[in-house]
């Protein structure tokens, strides 16, 4: 299980599900300058950039992945707009061709001789930050389930879909556990859908990363999210270990009270799929600032 080769004939799909409720406009604890929604949008744009680059073969982007980015807050629906806005699930080659804009910047890299050089880099932007309304998590998960059911009809074989869900608060429309379990019961001949959840906190509270049981979790909401989080398959465990994350057999794809560095790692691990080396888009010096 979770070993199918990802090819153009047998692509996989990745759903990024993002809480865009009003509270996402709040800053992280200890960093009043930056809204959670801004940071999450940046990480999602980098994740999409990474997925495109992985599929780029010289001048062609191969459709190894189909991608959906679903937001929930005042509305539930795709975060893509313009050319990509008409479809919930978009082949990665189309994602590549239709960013909203491509920003240019410079990045400091090693010159290989002990010094540093600045090289030009491009930052495509597909989604802008959003934060408005309540937290209709059940409605959003129901939408994800519908999208996956349609996608699986056409793709019953191959590496199963991965859903990366990020939220900063409790559901405003009921316990999401049941719909989460329904999503995890879907799958392909290579395994069940992988549902990973990352809860981020505004408060300074003890964080739980990739636990194997519920004992240390503080409340019913945390336990509910834990229960609707898939166990990390071996390839994901290996990717997490490469990133220096403390995981073990049985670890769930679940973070509670995460901070900015937790978000970055959550997306890196969650998109590592078939044992790919996690793509570290964030410089180590900036990464250490987040920790």
């Amino acid at each position: 299980m979770y070993s199918a080769q990802i090819t153009r004939a047998n692509p996989t799909c990745i759903v990024l599900l993002i809480d865009q409720s009003g509270s996402m406009a709040d800053p992280f604890s200890g960093d009043s300058s930056r809204k959670k929604s801004d940071f999450v949008a940046e990480v999602v744009n980098h994740t999409l950039h990474d997925l495109v680059i992985r599929c780029t073969k010289t001048e062609e982007v191969r459709n190894y992945y189909h991608v959906a980015v679903i937001g929930y807050g005042r509305h539930v629906g795709t975060c893509f707009s313009a050319e990509l806005g008409a479809r919930q699930m978009v082949p990665i080659a189309q994602v590549a061709d239709y960013p909203l804009q491509v920003k240019s910047s410079y990045k400091r890299v090693s010159d290989g001789a002990g010094g540093w050089v600045e090289i030009p880099v491009r930052y495509p932007v597909w989604i802008h930050p959003a934060s408005d309304g309540k937290t209709p998590m059940c409605e959003a998960l129901t939408r994800v389930k519908e999208i996956l059911e349609r996608w699986l009809l056409d793709h019953p074989k191959g590496f199963p879909p991965t859903v990366l869900h990020l939220t900063d608060g409790e559901s405003s429309d009921g316990d999401p556990n049941e719909i989460g379990q329904q999503i995890m019961s879907l799958g392909t001949d290579d395994g069940s859908v992988l549902l990973f959840n990352c809860h981020i906190s505004t408060r300074r509270a003890a964080k739980a990363e990739y636990p194997i049981d519920e004992r240390a979790l503080p409340d019913g909401f945390a336990r509910s999210l834990f229960q609707m989080s898939s166990r990390l398959p071996a390839n994901f465990l290996s990717a997490a270990a490469q990133l220096g994350v403390n995981v073990m057999e049985g670890s769930r794809g679940f973070v509670f009270n995460g901070d900015p560095s937790s978000i970055v790692q959550f997306y890196e691990i969650g998109t590592s799929l078939t044992g790919m080396t996690p793509y570290r888009w964030m410089d180590d010096d900036r990464r250490s600032e987040l920790a």
Binding site: I53, G112, R122
Partner: protein
């Protein structure tokens, strides 16, 4: 395909096989084989699937390594790779690239390489080998594996080997992983240059004493051999990857 070369003392019989991933076109294959039986130089390369222009980089490395007369010491290899990398990057200048191709090109290209040079002019047939990445050189005698480099065990293949980088800034990090070795051949020895999936398959079977490379190649024609490895991939006994195999059989000339 096969060819034969004779020196005063030694016969050299080569055979090679190149197959793209199942479901892919031959034009998409990123493995390359190059050899020159006159100079006794042989190379197999494997372009990294995720790299920019990997096919050209792998082809360039294989062909130019065989055409070269040196690059068998760390210093020569470093200089040679640097020059090849510069030429590859120069070939990209002036291209109008999309943002993603531009990003990809920035990190350069990557490939695995294994090359050997044979000296058949003396009583001992000698080989020198160089390898970086997970393309391998295997030396068999009487059906037994004598040497495998740079990877010696099947479980050591992983998805992130250190490869030959086209970008000079990566050279410092990669050159420490270059493996150079030498040895001699007896009458009837088999030398193989193999890209990673093929090398892993050979090593697994050798570890189980479940393979006689003589038997495999003697009993199968080219089409049968292709079908055999296609079946191995379909059955999941071999990873579905591009396959390159260059087999060299060394035999003493019989006089009279």
């Amino acid at each position: 395909m096969s060819s034969v070369k004779q020196s005063a003392i030694w016969n050299l019989e080569t055979r090679h096989l190149l197959l793209p991933k199942l479901g892919h076109e031959a034009s998409e294959c990123e493995d390359f084989i190059a050899f020159d039986t006159q100079t006794g130089r042989f190379a197999v390369t494997d372009g990294a699937t995720e790299a920019f222009d990997a096919r050209n980089w792998a082809r360039r490395l294989a062909q130019h390594w065989v055409e070269n007369e040196s690059a068998l010491t760390p210093e020569e290899f470093r200089e040679w790779v640097a020059a090849e990398g510069r030429e590859l990057h120069e070939s990209w200048s002036g291209l109008s690239l999309s943002w993603y191709s531009e990003e990809k090109a920035r990190t350069g290209s990557f490939a695995a390489l294994a090359g050997i040079e044979l000296n058949l002019e003396s009583d001992s047939a000698l080989w020198k080998a160089i390898a970086l990445g997970d393309t391998c050189f295997l030396h068999y005698r009487d059906g037994n594996l004598l040497k495998s480099l740079p990877v010696s065990r099947s479980e050591s293949f992983n998805s992130a080997p250190v490869l030959v980088a086209s970008d000079a800034s990566m050279h410092e990090a990669s050159m420490g992983s270059v493996v150079i070795d030498s040895g001699s051949c007896n009458d009837g020895d088999i030398l193989l240059l193999l890209s990673d999936a093929m090398a892993c398959w050979f090593l697994e079977r050798s570890e189980r004493n479940d393979l006689d490379p003589n038997c495999l190649f003697k009993t199968k024609g080219d089409e049968e051999l292709k079908q055999f490895f296609n079946d191995e991939r379909l059955a999941g006994r071999m990873r579905n990857d591009d396959l390159a195999m260059l087999r060299i059989e060394i035999a003493q000339r019989r006089v009279g």
